[in-house]
């Protein structure tokens, strides 16, 4: 019984070592720098756009439920539209051909692109 336990433990240990070492066995990995200036700025603009769009949606619903008065609604609506438009301008100015429609339902990506670029092998 004890011998079996020792043998199983040794096997388990070997499996753990293989599991941990497996990424190192695939060959040398490149070194990349953290240089995400463009990505960070673009991401910030996308977040700003999404925030403004979500706020517009919520404002609309709050207005319907009576939480926001007509006067407040019109005042806030103009500000939020301007914010969303400004964010969209920033995004399209950076990549006029690349930005898809904000409400398009995309395919599920396999990995965040910024990370994929930085952490991928050449």
């Amino acid at each position: 019984m004890q011998a079996l336990i020792v043998a199983l433990s040794a096997l388990a240990l070997a499996a753990v070592v293989c599991f941990v070492a497996s990424p190192l066995l695939r060959g040398p990995a490149p070194v990349h720098d953290y240089a995400a200036g463009d990505d960070a700025a673009r991401l910030a603009a996308l977040e700003r756009r999404d925030r403004a769009l979500a706020a517009l949606k919520e404002l609309e619903f709050d207005h319907r439920t009576g939480k926001v008065s007509d006067r407040d609604y019109h005042g806030l609506l103009a500000g939020l539209r301007a914010e969303a438009a400004d964010a969209l301008r920033t995004i399209t100015a950076a990549a006029p051909d690349a930005a898809p429609r904000p409400h398009a339902r995309p395919a599920r990506p396999r990995r965040a692109p910024a990370a994929a670029a930085r952490w991928s092998r050449r």
């Binding site: 977040e47 939480k67 952490w119």
Partner: protein, 663 residues
Amino acid sequence: MALLGRAALIATLALLVFAALVGGYAALRARRDLAESARNALLASFATTAAASAVLVAGFVRRDFALVYVADHSSRQLPLVYTLAGFWSGEAGSLLLWLLVLTGMSAIAIVCNRRLVADVLPWTVPVLAAITCFFAFVLVFVSSPFATQRAPVNGAGMNVSLQNPYMLVHPPLLYLGYVGLTIPFGFAMAAMLSRRTDERWLVAIRRWTLTSWTLLGVAILVGARWAYETIGWGGYYAWDPVENAALMPWLASTAFLHSVMVQEKKAMLRVWNVILVSLAFWLSIFGTFLTRSGVVNSIHSFSQSSIGAWFLGFIAIVTAVATVLILKRLPVLRTPSRLESLASREAAFLYNNLLLVAFALTLLWGVAFPLVSQALRGQTWSVGPPYYNFFLRVFGLPLLLLMAVGPVIAWRRASLRSLARGLGWPALAAGLAGALLLAGGAGSSPPGLAAYTFAVFILGVIVLEFVRGTRARKALGSANWAGAFVSLVARNRRRYGGYVSHAAVALLAIGIAGSSAYASSASARLQPGQTISVPGYTLRYDGTTFRRGANHDELRAHLAVFRNGKPDGSVAAGKNNYHVEAFFSNAVAIRTDWLRAEDLFVIADQFNRDGSVDLRVIVNPLVDLIWIAGAVFLVGSLIAMWPDACEKRRLARRTLELRLARA
């Protein structure tokens, strides 16, 4: 077997040291192969910790008293279910449970977020591994559950307070809550280290925090129920340092769960949110330090040991690292957004945060005061319930009021007219309830009356919010009212789940106010046939019985209950004598009237040689609303934490746009 357990723990420590050091190097140098290897090491550490835990469980099942820990926390007479709970009934076992939960949660968090925050994960792995290293180190070098001895004939048994069904779930729930707060901290530190402080790390940790917060809240309530049934003083919460230790991180997490919405909606409070995540984690570690080090006297503190100094060192390192990192990343975290109006949803969240954090820090000061006084004056002074009750009113009542007002205030700014429209009916209902209660004699406790009134205010606002929301959804095209209601909740689970949780807090406030401010009690020494009366009840002592249990003897005083003069069943209160542990414990009788949410609570303080018994009878009005609030709280939390498909789509769209922009 002990050797196998020790080997598994050493392997865990080795894997975690590897993950911390190699992972840190990989993150610094952006080495993908090393980062993946470190990640695998962190994942594997869960397997090795699970193996160590399995060895300890096997030791308990086999009643292997050659293991010192098993012998100290179980006996041959102990029922199997409590024998298994022996795993976490002592210091070393509970630390092993902590390590198991922490490695498990870390593994799940890493796997679940591998796509969402792929660029933050290389830093998350070493941060989580470094934190986990501490617990593995303590288990390997300071407090091992696998120390061996020549096996005694029988074990020392288990602390009898722990031999209660609630103790089977309370410690694991508490640890899940405590440990869960490590994950948000790990992600927050990693986001700052990687300078990726955009919204994604918040999305990654929000559900974790919500889950930990829920588990911690439920654990606090289960612990309160255990204290209510087991300690036998008629109460459920005594502001004990160890109880407060669980409440403090819960309050900090509550503040975070509110302020995170401000960051999501308005990109504000980014520094504050990182501080709150760090504070919640810090308080969870501090709570463990209190429980495990034996530095405070508490009925819940089961161990006196030398690991306190290690915990103190760990807390100091965590504090220093988090503070330096937050200060260094202030330029990245600061945002230009400002409050547009003091009457806005975000302002209400800010007020709520200030009150919650102030309350948590007040509790911290109360808990730490004996330590501070000992360090400064050489004398141990402690603060008692009056201190905590005072601050509960000072911070709790405004929080209740904010909970009522907050949901009806719009984001950015709200006009007086719309506020009046949202609050008019609930305020009227609360005013009426207050007047009725005052007329009914509830004015004897002004804070209790205020709590009742505010709770009605909160419930009124919540009902109105659901009604108006459902009506709006119906107008937007839902086929029927039920469909409109489901659509309302499904489209904004966090908001409406939050409202259900608010309702739970309102019920809790009513329960606490009712049971603490309006309880009545009576004590007497009764001979068989004599009676004792409390408002609404009369109890007649009919005699005693004796019964031999599996590992204890039971002595019970039997009492016939009369409600308003009519017979209404019987109750039996008494004492248990545990043989192995050589300990007497109270076995209180609780008779629950669910319709009135009221308990008749009977304690047999002493059985006398002349056949008489010293009895204490307490009527706890509305106390059962506290336990009902727990169930409502759980429902609200589940609604709020249910995955949001819209958010997933939004994040996926954003990721795709970034990818296209790079292409």
